[in-house]
Amino acid sequence: MDAASAALIGMGLAAAGFAGAGVGIGYIFGKMIEAVARQPEAEGRVGKYMWIGFALVEAIALYGIVIAFIIMGLRGK
């Protein structure tokens, strides 16, 4: 296998990290629904932290994209 195709495979593998973020986002929204179902008046306060948590989890997934970009940048050399 030549280096170019290995780099492409590596870039694809970098996307595998999104699975973890999928689990994380599912957890966050699931727990949010659970919390609101138990205590509907807490929705405002819980919701604020839910969105922060959502954005943080999503950002972790996107580090995978950064790795793909790094590989793409190195590919040219």
Binding site: A59, L62, Y63, I65, V66
Partner: protein, 249 residues
């Protein structure tokens, strides 16, 4: 037709211009930043020009914004943090307008350049260090020792804390950059699909882009909020060494 989803992020200077050997040529991102600054300051100037007891719509928007940023600062930094209000508000507005204006087709998302977000993040981090050392002197190094650590664990905890400190500017920069880049890349990929597929199926990715655009507006606001609140948390750490007392995280 070869389509590269990363094409929208390329920057081409409008000609060369240099000052004392430093390249200061203009490009789309620079012009976009000027637009952002002009629009944000014009809007807020108009909102605050005549203060009425019964606010106009624009004025109540500005009041809402000020209250929101003030609440954010009080939650994370406490009373002492209000000195940083102008800085935090400027940072929040600039990132918010960059993110939102970048969603307009044909414009440019300044925050999708890692050099911009890295400059913000390094500035914020350097500022938290300067504030910490100015307020507490060398006691500020106590930030490397979490409260209640047994002496035996110190050789383990201090390196971990140093790494986590060094990761702060990195994660701050990469988070904003990656979110903006990824959103626009997804849009570019979907539009590329819509153009290259035959019409009977090509409408599906096009419809999907509408939903993604809605998500992107939300992400733009949330990421501006996250960047600002993490700035508040880092500055709050520097101001009230282990400032967990006031409900900071």
């Amino acid at each position: 037709m070869e389509s590269n989803p990363l094409h929208p992020f390329e920057l081409h200077p409008y000609g060369t211009l240099s000052l004392f050997g430093i390249d200061i040529s203009l490009n789309k991102a620079v012009v976009m930043m000027w637009v952002v600054i002009a629009l944000a300051s014009w809007l807020l100037y108009r909102a605050g020009r005549e203060r009425r007891l019964i606010p106009t719509r624009l004025q109540s928007l500005a009041e809402l914004l000020v209250e929101f940023i003030k609440g954010m600062i009080l939650d994370t930094m406490g009373e002492k943090g209000l000195r940083f209000f102008p800085f935090i508000a400027t940072l929040f507005l600039f990132i918010l307008f960059c993110n939102l204006l970048g969603l307009i087709p044909g414009s440019y998302t300044v925050t999708s350049q890692i050099v911009v977000t890295a400059a913000f993040a390094l500035f914020v981090y350097a500022m938290s260090l300067v504030v910490g050392f100015a307020l507490h002197g060398f006691r500020f190094l106590g930030i490397l020792v979490p409260g209640g650590t047994p002496v035996l664990l110190l050789p383990l905890m201090v390196p971990i804390e140093i790494v986590s400190q060094l990761a702060r500017p990195l994660s701050l920069a990469v988070r904003l950059f990656a979110n903006m880049t990824a959103g626009h890349t997804i849009l570019a990929v979907l539009f590329g699909m819509a153009l290259s597929l035959p019409l009977w199926i090509g409408w599906a990715p096009f419809v999907f882009t509408i939903a993604i655009n809605g998500l992107e507006v939300m992400i733009a606001v949330i990421q501006a909020y996250i960047f600002t609140i993490l700035t508040c948390v880092y500055l709050g750490d520097a101001i009230n060494l282990h400032g967990h007392a006031e409900g900071a995280h």
